[in-house]
């Protein structure tokens, strides 16, 4: 459970956010004005900020800069109608951890909050990742499952590594397209689905229990069966 501060002036959206995040088990406070949001952010303890960029009082960008200048390092997602690459770069430079363009889906937001909130401290030097009987060597890029060597194409390897690093959490389609391909656009063809199915054919099909699981209408996650 996290205490999340939502700074958003549109009541339909803030109500939707509050409802959706509460259902996921979080505690949500809503500030409808930039100044109020800034005072709360600096004086109370939150685990997460969701900030709209265009809000009355202080705009979201200046608000975030003030928060970061005050030494608050709580993770932040910008949720905004300003979706250009320039806007995105500005947002990330001001210190946001992620940037979502409206309209957004609750599942996407939830997955991204999850990815940031439980982001482990950057591990020292890992040389391998293990899930169940699947092991990947990060240095030699050698992948084995139950001792069998698996030959992966570079994109399949990148996809697998991203899924393993998510540590059992869901990665949405757009998160995977961003991470593995650097796409800032939604492909018209089934690029992701095709590569997931290739990856499955190599690491799941020949073995008893599948590791890659589809989360309907959201994305994929990788975990060992219990």
């Amino acid at each position: 459970m996290m205490h999340i501060l939502v700074i958003e002036d549109d009541q339909t959206q803030s109500a939707y956010l509050k409802k959706g995040l509460t259902e996921l088990g979080h505690q949500v406070s809503v500030a409808e004005d930039g100044k109020v949001g800034l005072v709360w952010a600096l004086n109370e303890t939150f685990d997460f900020f969701i900030i709209d960029r265009m809000i009355p009082g202080i705009d979201g960008l200046s608000l975030l800069k003030s928060i970061r200048a005050a030494g608050v390092s709580t993770p932040v997602i910008f949720l905004t109608a300003l979706g250009s690459v320039d806007n995105r770069v500005e947002g990330l430079r001001a210190g946001s951890d992620d940037y979502m363009t409206k309209p957004f889906s609750m599942e996407e937001l939830a997955a991204r909050i999850d990815a940031l909130a439980r982001r482990p401290a950057i591990a020292a030097v890992e040389s391998s990742l293990v899930v169940g009987d699947l092991k990947i060597d990060l240095l030699s890029r050698v992948v084995t499952r139950a001792g069998t060597l698996i030959d992966l194409q570079p994109k399949e390897y990148a996809l697998l590594e991203a899924l393993i690093r998510a540590d059992g959490r869901v990665l949405t389609r757009s998160m995977l397209l961003e991470k593995v391909w650097g796409f800032q656009f939604d492909p018209m063809t089934s690029v992701l689905e095709t590569h997931i199915s290739r990856l499955r054919a190599k690491i799941d099909k020949p073995f008893e229990s599948p590791l890659i699981h589809t989360v309907r209408q959201v994305g994929y996650r990788l975990h060992a069966s219990h």
Partner: protein, 445 residues
């Protein structure tokens, strides 16, 4: 940045042309002067020769042959510098007096008013006279005249050369001063072309012709910038004003869907509503993004993009996609291509769009080729192709071929390709691959 060499610049060429006209005029005037001087000298010499003859003739009339011979000998001795020649002969041609030998005379020595050449170096302006039965040849050295003229010519050539050097120097100074300003204008316009609409010409307050032109250009740029800022502001406003209701719509659909799920009816309609809403959003996003690419603001993010690696990545990504569609994709790279200054993400999207177009609009068993050669990237399919008459239309916004109306897509795919190509200064061409379509992107070298 293209720079004019100083010797090719307009001011320098004008300076050189002025110099050429000046020197030509100078030569013509000086030439006429020389001819005039030469004639005057000649006349003077002739007068002097005639005067001497008249004197000697008087001596003959008063004193006879021997007095004349004595007078000629006296005059010959007085002629210390050898400027004059004398030859007095009797009627048979026997020398009586003088300082040249009768043997040097040409057979027909009675020529009058001519130049007499003693040898190659010494030319005399000479005249032949008759005194009684005697013959008299008088000559005065013509060398002086030729020398004066020759000296004048040498002076003329040297001063002409000096004027030429001076005018090249002056032309170069003027040209480089002018070029500094013209190059500055070229720079400013290049910045504008690259999308930096705030660039201005600095010397626009100077009141000469170029300064006036510069201030007009600055005024035009200011108007342009205002308009472009207006468009950007409108885009941002539309983005916000349209996205907010769209977001609410998404939320309302989700809430309604949740409520109606209790009785399980209408899920298919909700799915359709969601797809349509996503389509609206996709077109809207695509239009905004095309506007952003066209605005040129992304140029700041350009780096060196290795094309071979990028195409390898695309090939790996789409080979599997094509196979899943029952098609095949091959990648051929003929000449190793150099890196391109641009955006990796945008070039990737551009080529991905072209391949996705082929995948979507071509039937099963279509063979798609990605070809990288020199500074060109081509995507070639052997599918149904596009009628040649439609080549221009496919780049129109939201244009779709009749047969494609029911395939998914925003109708903006090729607009993306075009906007991205333009942002990289690249050129797109469509060709009939007979059968099929060949799309070629040519990057600047």
């Amino acid at each position: 940045m293209p720079r004019t060499k100083w010797y090719l610049s307009t001011p320098f060429r004008i300076a050189l042309l002025a110099e050429a006209i000046f020197v030509t005029a100078f030569l013509v005037i000086f030439g006429l002067l020389v001819i005039e001087m030469e004639n005057e000298f000649f006349d003077q010499q002739e007068l002097a020769l005639n005067n001497e003859y008249r004197f000697l003739n008087d001596v003959y009339v008063q004193g006879g042959v021997w007095a004349t011979v004595a007078a000629v000998e006296r005059n010959t001795r007085a002629n210390v510098k050898g400027r004059k020649i004398y030859l007095l002969t009797d009627s048979t041609g026997q020398k009586l007096a003088g300082n040249i030998d009768d043997s040097v005379l040409p057979s027909q020595w009675t020529l009058t008013d001519s130049l007499f050449e003693l040898d190659a170096d010494e030319r005399y302006h000479s005249a032949a006279y008759t005194i009684g039965t005697m013959h008299l040849l008088l000559g005065v050295n013509g060398f002086e005249v030729s020398e004066i003229i020759a000296r004048a010519m040498v002076t003329l050539i040297w001063s002409g050369l000096a004027v030429l050097m001076l005018s090249i120097l002056a032309g170069k100074i003027i040209a480089s001063r002018m070029n500094r300003r013209l190059n500055h204008v070229t720079d400013v316009l290049a910045h504008i072309a690259a999308g930096e609409f705030s660039a201005r010409i600095e010397f626009a307050n100077m009141s000469d012709d170029i300064g006036l032109m510069a201030s007009q250009i600055n005024r035009a740029l200011a108007t342009l910038e205002t308009h472009i800022d207006g468009v950007k502001q409108v885009s941002a406003d539309i983005a916000h004003d349209l996205r907010t209701p769209l977001t609410r719509l998404y939320i309302l659909i989700a809430s309604l869907e949740e409520r109606s799920q209790a009785d399980g009816h209408g899920q298919d309609i909700f799915d359709q509503i969601t797809v349509q809403t996503q389509q609206i959003n996709a077109i809207f996003d695509a239009l905004l993004r095309i506007t952003e690419i066209e605005s040129g603001t992304l140029k700041d993010t350009f780096t060196s993009v290795p094309m071979q690696a990028l195409c390898d990545e695309i090939f790996e990504t789409y080979q599997a996609v094509c196979q899943d569609h029952g098609q095949s994709l091959t990648f051929e790279s003929a000449v190793p291509i150099n890196s391109i200054h641009g955006s990796h993400a945008l070039i990737f999207q551009m080529i991905a769009n072209l391949i996705e177009n082929a995948v979507q609009h071509c039937p099963i068993d279509t063979h798609i080729r990605l070809v990288l050669a020199g500074n060109q990237i081509s995507v070639i399919d052997d599918g149904p192709g596009i009628p040649i008459a439609e080549y221009d239309k496919v780049f129109q916004r939201l244009y779709r071929l009749d047969r494609s109306r029911n395939t998914p897509g925003t109708g903006l795919g090729l607009n993306f390709v075009q906007a991205i190509a333009a942002a990289h200064g690249a050129h797109i061409s469509l060709d009939d691959a007979a059968p099929g379509l060949k799309v070629t992107i040519t990057f600047p070298k």
